[in-house]
């Protein structure tokens, strides 16, 4: 880079920083530092992958849903997730990466998705717990992201949050029905809470002190609130909800601190967190294998669609000529 170019780059960066400070949204055609671009691609595509892989654990119960109404509701929910995925991939594409490239990074295991989806859905209550806790945790994070600095991502979040809060209510309603059902149903609901509680807290990522991307991300307002802040918000919100259900959160250290007006909670098992993040959770391999299988088996379909479209385009050209 010549001296002149460097100077220009510096002034652009100053301008960019000023805009961020004034809470202006950065749009696709605006100048942005390369690292800002990369960090957004990373975050948005991870988010998109989470929506797509997240379809699998819930999809596991579509064929076995206990009533026609529940079946339709779950089916629509999982379809919403595909829509969110598409929407987010499009947002990331505005940063100059193709959907196929991102998708393949996910398929080969290079790109991450939310670790929560590497846990199995064992009973119908898990569908309730996912809606209540996992979507609940996601919303806490996503509401803060409606203020993120990259325009297309912020706008995607606004839309996605609306649907997610609907999903969360559906999940909570499943839990409510079970918690107020037969003793067997209540036990099933409690068991689901026991298994999904801690992984839900882990969804917010490592403690602030150990989070590698946090500083720059927050300076550029890609991330708005820190992992620990968001985690606390979630706990404060979920505990009273569990009380209403009459279910017990599986944490002996959980207690309300009237001075801070927050719930204090026990230690998260970070070893488990890293095990799953690094690809060794109970379902990591299965999830990726399923997505790879669908992608590979669908290859001839996608090729056919492209070949057909090309033939049609040629026909139109011939007709026009």
């Amino acid at each position: 880079m010549s001296e002149q170019e460097q100077m220009r780059e510096r002034s652009l960066e100053e301008e960019f920083t000023k805009r961020i400070a004034q809470d202006e949204k950065i749009e696709p055609k605006d100048w942005m530092p390369q690292r800002y671009r990369q960090m957004n691609i990373r975050q948005i595509s991870q988010h998109a992958h989470s929506e797509i892989v997240g379809m699998l654990p819930e999809g596991n119960w579509i064929t076995r849903a206990p009533s026609l109404l529940r079946k339709v509701t779950l089916l629509a929910k999982v379809q919403d997730e595909a829509g969110h995925g598409l929407y987010l991939y499009s947002a990331a594409e505005t940063l100059g990466i193709s959907r196929d490239e991102m998708y393949e990074q996910m398929l080969c295991g290079k790109a991450k998705y939310s670790s929560i989806f590497n846990y199995p859905t064992l009973t119908w209550a898990d569908i309730g717990a996912i809606g209540w806790l996992v979507d609940g945790a996601a919303i806490v994070n996503q509401v803060s992201l409606t203020h993120t600095s990259y325009g297309p991502y912020a706008r995607a979040m606004v839309r996605i949050c609306k649907e997610e809060s609907f999903h969360q209510r559906q999940g909570y309603q499943i839990m409510y029905k079970m918690a107020n059902g037969t003793p067997e149903q209540k036990a099933m609901a409690q068991d689901a809470l026991n298994r999904w509680w801690w992984p839900s807290l882990m969804m917010f990522g490592p403690r602030d002190a150990e989070s590698t991307h946090t500083d720059q991300s927050m300076a550029w307002k890609i991330k708005i609130k820190s992992n620990d802040t968001l985690r606390q918000m979630f706990v404060d919100q979920a505990v009273p909800q569990a009380d209403i259900l009459g279910l017990r959160i599986p944490d002996p250290h959980l207690r309300y601190n009237p001075e801070t007006a927050h719930y204090e909670f026990g230690a998260i098992d970070w070893e488990e967190f890293w095990q799953v993040v690094k690809g060794h959770g109970i379902c990591n391999k299965q999830r990726l294998a399923d997505k790879n299988k669908a992608w590979k088996e669908g290859e001839w379909v996608r090729k056919a669609a492209v070949a057909y479209a090309e033939k049609q385009a040629k026909k139109r050209v011939r007709k026009a000529g």
Binding site: M55, Q79, W300
Partner: protein, 263 residues
């Protein structure tokens, strides 16, 4: 807790009234939608995944209306869910086509295509039923099914006139599933009685327009229209293929494992 399902039933009751007619109209959609829903999250592309899920959602929605009406007519405490989740294999009046497995995308798509064209013609007739509820369900459903028909016909054309591989696969699916098409026009005792009363649909009359419509699409897609000497039937009399029991075992798992509970 419901007690209705403890009600003892005849082993394989033949309902030749309006409820039998409704089973004949709705069961195929239920089984097809169940098959489609197996694929949610596993489609060849996100767009197709969403497209097939949409069809499944529409079909489940229609099924609920039919079953709610049947439950009303039965008036014995059974609900839409009892009809879906507590009838046995021999009581389902769905066509054999519906329960055929998702062998590959070509099969899934062809199965749906072959059903959609029948479904559309059937609903068109059902709109004229003397039974206002059924006519109403048909009027609501036909808008959705008109779209299903376009969606699957477009895909048949894409696959038939796409690549060599897609052509080969979809041609095989058409050949293998064709023998299940004639059952679509089969009339049970219930169907016959209900036709006499101006409530049911005379499926026989749909046969010629059906084969004309699907043949047109297949030819457009450069696909061979099968000529088969022998057709399969049985589903509409509750005699299914071996696939059906497994489909039901999955679908009815919760209701069978936890009898009488509400979710």
């Amino acid at each position: 807790m419901r007690t209705s399902q403890q009600k003892k039933q005849m082993p394989y009751p033949q309902d030749d009234g309006p409820v039998g007619l409704i089973y004949g109209l709705a069961d195929s959609s239920l089984i097809l939608a169940q098959r489609l829903s197996e694929l949610t999250g596993h489609g060849p592309s996100l767009e197709v995944d969403m497209g097939l899920t949409n069809i499944a959602l529409d079909l489940f929605g229609q099924v609920r209306l039919y079953y709610q009406y049947a439950a009303e007519l039965l008036a014995d405490g059974r609900t839409e869910d009892d009809l879906a989740f507590l009838r046995t294999e021999r009581e389902f009046r769905s066509v054999l086509l519906a329960e055929q497995p998702n062998t590959d995308f070509a099969y899934t798509l062809t199965r749906q295509f072959l059903y959609d064209h029948f479904h559309f013609l059937m609903l068109k007739e059902l709109q004229r039923s003397k039974d206002n509820t059924l006519a109403g369900i048909a009027t609501k459903g036909i808008k959705e099914v008109a779209y299903h028909k376009v969606y699957t016909s477009d895909w048949i054309e894409r696959l038939g006139d796409g690549t060599e591989e897609s052509h080969r696969r979809v041609q095989k699916a058409v050949l293998d599933l064709w023998p299940y098409t004639q059952e679509l026009f089969y009339k049970t005792e219930a169907d016959k009685k209900m036709i006499e009363q101006g409530i049911g649909v005379d499926f026989e009359r749909l046969k010629a327009p059906y084969y004309k419509a699907v043949t047109t699409v297949l030819k457009q897609a450069r696909l061979k229209v099968p000529e088969v000497a022998y057709f399969q039937k049985g589903g509409k009399e509750g005699v299914h293929t071996e696939h059906m029991g497994h489909l039901l075992a999955t679908m009815q798992y919760m209701q069978r494992t936890y009898p009488g509970m509400e979710w």
